[in-house]
Subunit: 333 residues, 2 copies
DNA sequence: GACATTATCTGACTATAGTCAGATAAATTC
DNA sequence: GAATTTATCTGACTATAGTCAGATAATGTC
């Protein structure tokens, strides 16, 4: 599915394996330090006199929740949750009543006291975070939260699976129609579903469709279609609005390049609409060069091309950092 | 001690407060996501059939530890630890014996079985980290661990306290002598303690000495000395070898600038030796401009100067990101 | 309308994590 | 060398977190 060590040269494969092992150790080192020092933020320190599980439930209730949802979300045993809720009820922090939709389901809401308690909890958590930050000058505070933002985004990205799907499948069609819906809104001239590539053109040797899914939900797609011998065209690059800014576009582009290389394509072209600035910036930074119009490309004002090397991604760690950064696009998006 | 919101203009103070609040929320958001998704790395998933506390003890024993140290390091009740060790002993994973130095103290070591078990534990933890990373292409894996490295360094930096100390105190002298020891090794011509600024020149209106401490241990220092009306000289900038690469030099420079501004100094000068490249790079990126020699400065080949604005740090978030980055040094060190 | 399913609750358990008050023996202080 | 301190151990507790097997009532399926 993902191709981080797909390599024919044993030496390179060896090095890639080594690099990944080191990265795992770096991640573990972070985890050790973080849980030791910041575990405070989540741990019982927040609950003060309250068990952690009760505090967690209080956090999750918010505007009122089905106990059923709560159980699933927190992964709790139904008996355990029942008792937790009962205890919070006795403390006057939550009220439970039947759901209007389903008489079996019970809904928990915060009482005024409960809301106050939750505000307190939040206050304390933010206070702890602030105390942690206040040790640093503003510029370094900003660097710290930028780093944690970035890490959070990439952790989320790592939970998204990207893989080839049958373009005529229900999932594929749903994803493409969400893509079409968005283009309809963004293109001044509108967009017609007929401009989508047919399922036949994305199957077998003719092309491929990759779909990105997070917890089973489609979060983006990208397609490639053979337009000449050795030449493929990237189509339908789309990232769900709720998954933007985490590097999914860049990853999809990488994955489709790997897939295209696997189809023995040597050149990739693509056409894009002038209103899609963020896409244009992505293509440029991923090594695509502007070219003249190369064929019938509806809704397009910009055309790009990239020659795939033997390996679509240069992982040349021994080269200068600058070169590396440019070639694989380490620059922030 | 630290100056992140030291501001005379109420409006600016307001905004600074707002910014810090937002940063706290970003940190909390990271914490929520991280503990939920990666808590796996540290949590009971590692211990498999073993309670978390036993697994933690197993991790910490390593080459053999005093139970006394272990108790302090893990913050455990002595009775509790005693029972944990007893349980691991019964499982044949650790052996305990008396300490050769102190008959009261007991030392725990891993048996062969214990070592195997620890290897297993480590294997599993690295495997989990790898599984997490393997969802990403190599370039984005690298971005992720770079972000966590950076976050770890800055979290550590936030635990370091920087403050003015009496330059004739024991702590100050120890720190300065560590500084002098290092210069003796790095300067081809050697270094004489007589070249250190006297305590008198760093006291009262004449100057100041800031020391950075982590868990009570000195990790660096920096001094300022008034050399002309309105003009101060930065001296004795030093970061402990074990605390390099986390941004402490930059922070010390910032703190001394704030301190100098508080002494109504308007210009800061400094002189540095040619072999200290990393220091020279720091001064440049913090807005210091090279100048001609300005006075008797032993062991120096480079001279720098910076004019302090009313506020030594521009926190001008509304300016272009590029400008901001340049002025406060967001560039990686 | 019989039957299966689902959401919650209750009672009875267990495991883990810890706390606290002495007891004991070695080391340190005076 | 007596008194104090320190490191560990033991026994007796408590709190938290969780599991599991039914019981009950509302819903969905046929």
């Amino acid at each position: 599915m993902t191709s981080s060590g797909d390599d024919v040269h044993p030496q390179r494969a060896q090095r890639a394996h080594h690099e990944q092992r080191d990265r795992a150790e770096r991640l573990r080192e972070f985890n050790r330090y973080y849980t030791q020092r910041v575990g405070i933020l989540s741990d019982r320190y927040l609950g003060q006199n309250r068990p952690l599980s009760e505090a967690r439930v209080l956090f999750e209730i918010g505007q009122g929740v089905d106990l059923r949802d709560l159980r699933v979300r927190l992964g709790l045993d139904s008996g355990f949750l029942s008792r937790l809720i009962r205890s919070l009820e006795r403390q006057g922090l939550v009220a439970v009543g039947p759901s209007p939709d389903d008489g079996r389901v019970r809904v928990a809401t915060l009482t005024d006291d409960g809301r106050r308690e939750l505000d307190d909890l939040n206050e304390r958590a933010t206070g702890l975070a602030n105390r942690l930050l206040s040790g640093l000058p503003a510029a370094q505070q900003e660097q710290l939260v930028s780093a944690t933002d970035r890490a959070r985004h990439l952790l989320r990205l790592s939970a998204i699976e990207v893989g080839a799907v049958d373009p005529s499948s229900e999932a594929a069609r749903r994803c493409l129609s969400a893509f079409a819906d968005e283009l309809r809104q963004r293109f001044p001239e509108g967009f017609d579903d007929a401009d989508l590539v047919s399922a036949r053109e994305l199957s077998g040797d003719a092309g491929a469709l990759l779909v990105a899914t997070e917890d089973g939900e489609a979060r983006g797609c990208v397609a490639v279609r053979v337009i000449e011998p050795d030449v493929g065209e990237i189509r339908h690059m789309w990232v769900h609005p709720g998954a933007r800014g985490i590097g999914l576009g860049r990853r999809l582009l990488h994955e489709i390049e790997v897939h295209a290389a696997g189809m023995d394509l040597r050149v990739l072209r693509l056409a894009t609409h002038g209103v899609l600035d963020e896409a244009i910036a992505l293509y440029r930074s991923a090594g695509y060069a502007a070219i003249d119009q190369y064929g019938p490309t509806p809704h397009a004002q910009h055309w790009f091309e990239k020659h795939l090397g033997r390996r679509p991604e240069t992982r040349n760690a021994s080269a200068s950092p600058d070169l590396h950064e440019r070639s694989v696009g380490l620059a922030p998006q």
